[in-house]
Symmetry: C2
Subunit: 243 residues, 2 copies
C-alpha cells in the first residue's frame, strides 16, 4: 500500500489516496485520533472518481462518529482494465432491459459472479493493508455497494463485524447461499419503489441471511432517494456495533 496524495477536508478529516498494487483507493481518517479507530469499508457500484462526492459525504459522517473509512476501485471500473466477459454480460443485460424482457439468470451470473470473485479477495487484501496502519484499529464494518460483493465478503471475511447493505436487484442464486452463511449484525436498506430493484428478491434475500440480528429499513422513493434520516439510522447502527 502506497499513499499517493494527502489532503485535509476540514472538519477534522484527513483524506489520503493510495494504490494497492494496481488498485487505486482512498482512506479517510478522523483527526485528531489519539487511539486506533474502527474502520468502515465503503462499498460503491464502481467508478471511484464518479462516486467520490458521495463517498466523501459518507466518510465525513463516519468520521463524526470517530470512524475511518476506505474505498477501493472495483475490478473493471474507473481506469482498471475492462473484462470482456463482464462487458458482454452487461450488453446482454441492457438488451434484455431495453426489450422489456426478463433478465436471464445466466446473464446475471456472468455479470456478477466473476466480479464478486475478483473483488472479494481485493477487499480482503485492502483490509490487511489498512489494519496494518497504526491509526486503524477495528472493528470493521462494510457499507453499501454491490450487494453480491458485500454479502460474499461478509460470509467469508471474519474481520467484518457488522454490515449495512443496500438492497439491489441482479442477485445470483449463489449469493442466496452466501447469505445463509452470514451471521454478523445486518442493517439492510430497501427503496420500496426502486425502479432497478426486484422488491421480492430483496425481501427473500433479507429472509435468507443467517444473522440473528438483522433489520430491514424500507423507505419510499427510487434507487437514489434514500432519505437523510435513513442514512443517519445506518450510521447509528455502526455506532452500536463498532464501538
Amino acid at each position: 500500500m502506497r499513499f499517493t496524495s494527502e489532503r485535509r477536508l476540514g472538519g477534522g478529516v484527513l483524506e489520503r489516496e493510495f494504490t494497492l498494487g494496481e488498485i487505486p483507493g482512498v482512506l479517510w481518517t478522523p483527526e485528531p485520533a489519539p487511539e486506533p479507530v474502527p474502520l468502515i469499508l465503503l462499498g460503491h457500484p464502481g467508478g471511484l472518481h464518479w462516486m467520490r462526492p458521495r463517498l466523501e459525504a459518507r466518510a465525513r459522517q463516519s468520521a463524526e462518529h470517530g470512524f475511518a473509512s476506505a474505498a477501493i476501485e472495483l475490478p473493471g471500473s474507473g481506469d482498471r482494465p475492462r473484462s470482456e466477459t463482464a462487458e458482454q454480460a452487461r450488453a446482454d443485460l441492457h438488451r434484455a432491459l431495453a426489450a422489456g424482457e426478463p433478465v436471464a439468470e445466466e446473464t446475471i451470473d456472468r455479470l456478477v459472479l466473476p466480479l464478486a470473485e475478483k473483488a472479494v479477495p481485493e477487499w480482503r487484501a485492502a483490509l490487511d493493508a489498512l489494519l496494518a496502519l497504526p491509526e486503524i484499529g477495528g472493528p470493521v464494518g462494510f457499507s453499501g455497494g454491490v450487494i453480491s460483493i458485500a454479502v460474499r465478503l461478509a460470509a467469508v471475511e471474519p474481520r467484518i463485524a457488522a454490515a449495512v447493505l443496500y438492497a439491489g436487484s441482479l442477485i445470483p442464486r449463489a449469493v442466496f447461499e452466501d447469505a445463509r452463511r452470514v451471521t454478523v449484525p445486518l442493517h439492510v436498506l430497501l427503496q420500496w419503489d426502486d425502479e432497478s430493484n426486484d422488491r421480492q428478491a430483496s425481501l427473500d434475500l433479507f429472509d435468507a441471511f443467517g444473522s440473528e440480528e438483522k433489520t430491514l429499513h424500507a423507505n419510499m422513493g427510487g434507487h437514489t432517494g434514500v432519505p437523510p434520516f435513513a442514512g443517519e439510522e445506518a450510521t447509528r447502527f455502526f455506532a452500536r456495533h463498532l464501538k
Copy 2:
C-alpha cells in the same frame, strides 16, 4: 373529562388517571413544561391495567422528548362491558387457530370492525378533551396498538399528524381501503418472525398506505421482541414530525 388520581413518577413525569364518561384513561405529561406540548396517543391491545408497565415505559420515553402521552381503555376490555359479538368472534378465532385452520375473513371482520367502529370515535372524543387542556398543544401522533384502529383513526382524524404502527395480523379487507386514505408520515414496525402475524399481509398493508413518507422497520424475533433500538428509532420519528 374528570381527573381521578395524580402521581409523580419521578424523572419529571406527572401521571393522571381520568375518566371520559364511562371510559378510563391515563395522561402522562412532562414537568416542568412552560409551553403546551405535543401529544402522543398510546395504542395498546386492550387492558389498560395489564398494559400499564409497558405504557408507562413508553410515556417516560416520550416525556424525555417533551411529549405528553395518553391512553384510553378499549371497548370490551378491562372493566368495560364485553360485547357478545366480539366474544363470539374471539371464540371462533381461537377455535380456528387451535385446529390449525385458516381464520375466515368473516370472523376477522366480526372481531375487528365493530371494535374499530366503536374505538375510533372514542379516541377522537379523548383527543377533543385532551387538546382542551392548557398544558397540551399539539401536533398529535398515534403510536401502536390494534393496527386496524390506528389505521382507521389516521384515515379519518385530521389532527393525527404522524403515526407509528405496529404490524399485526387479522386485518379486515376494509382496513386496506382505509390505508389508501392515510397520507400522514408513517413509521411501521414489523417483527419478521411474529408467530401471530401474517408477514405478507403486513407488507401488503405497508404497500397500500397512501402516505408519501412511510418507512418499514423489520426486525427479527417474535411479537414482543421489538429490540430497544427500534423503539428509539420510533421515538426519533416522532421527534422529527411532532416538533
